[in-house]
């Protein structure tokens, strides 16, 4: 496809309690087949979607956080996480799961997909995107 657009999926909500996070991830997985330039943004309570050690046994809902680790296989290489949102919630990068992708331009070396960026940089990422889908 000649006209590749920059898609940015903005995740603002906690992983459980509402269905937005799960249904957002479903869009990302389907969208991956369209060979667009895909980025994900995590801010506000959305940063909880990427935290380690999620256990949903007590709420009768599927823990879908392992699916984020598969995003690299879908050629999703950019997961932006807002630093201020982490800090406001007492979290740091160490609390987040590891997501890697294989860089085809660098001998398929595994590289981290999660990039912690500032609120100002997040604004730039949004301004830079062609299509912003906010969940």
């Amino acid at each position: 496809m000649s006209d590749v657009k920059k898609f940015l999926y903005v995740n603002r909500r906690a992983p459980y309690g509402t269905i937005y996070a799960l249904e957002s991830l479903e869009v990302v997985l389907i969208g991956a087949a369209f060979e667009q330039d895909v980025s994900l943004a995590f801010l506000d309570d959305g940063v909880f979607q990427l935290t380690k050690g999620q256990n949903t046994d007590g709420i009768g809902v599927k823990n879908f956080s392992p699916t984020f680790r598969a995003l690299g296989d879908y050629d999703v290489q950019k997961l932006f996480v807002e630093r201020e949102s982490l800090e406001e919630r007492g979290l740091s990068e160490d609390d987040l799961i590891e997501v890697v992708y294989e860089d085809e331009d660098d001998d398929w070396e595994e590289k981290p997909a999660i990039r912690v960026i500032s609120r100002a940089e997040m604004a730039d990422a949004m301004a830079d995107a062609d299509v912003v889908l906010s969940f």
């Binding site: 657009k5 898609f7 249904e23 479903e26 969208g31 369209f34 667009q36 969940f135």
Partner: protein, 130 residues
């Protein structure tokens, strides 16, 4: 300009679907093209033809159906979100062994690929949600 619209909140509970309707109407009146509206999350509930609001209230489904007919707008309901919420067309009802279907005229059930395609093919994608 070609504008795609995403509706992601349910009817009567939330303003989003009403705002989307007014936006699409105004955009078309201003000469823009709105080829498709995609309904996701609880937005899929707009498409039930079994909704019976009080007579002195707006009928959201019927308004969309009329708009689609008049201006040839493709109203697409996400199949995955629809199935979770009991929204089935005749084909899906038969496939899933259900005894009823409820999708109103003017709406069609299809996959999330239609949302991505809309993002690729339009100049702007406007989301109405929370």
């Amino acid at each position: 300009m070609k504008i795609g619209v995403l509706v992601s909140e349910g009817p009567y509970t939330h303003q989003a679907v009403d705002s989307a309707y007014k936006f699409v109407t105004a955009a078309i009146a201003a000469g823009h093209e709105v080829p498709r509206v995609f309904f996701y999350h609880d937005g899929v509930n707009v498409a039930t033809r079994l909704s019976v609001p009080p007579q002195d209230e707006r009928n959201i489904q019927q308004n969309w159906t009329a708009l689609a007919k008049e201006h040839n707008v493709d109203l697409v309901v996400c199949i995955a979100a629809a199935q979770r919420r009991g929204m089935l067309d005749a084909n899906e009802a038969e496939r899933q062994g259900k005894d009823a279907n409820n999708i109103a005229e003017g709406f069609r059930i299809s996959g999330l690929g239609q949302l991505i395609e809309m993002g690729i093919q339009t100049d702007r994608l406007v989301t109405f949600g929370d």
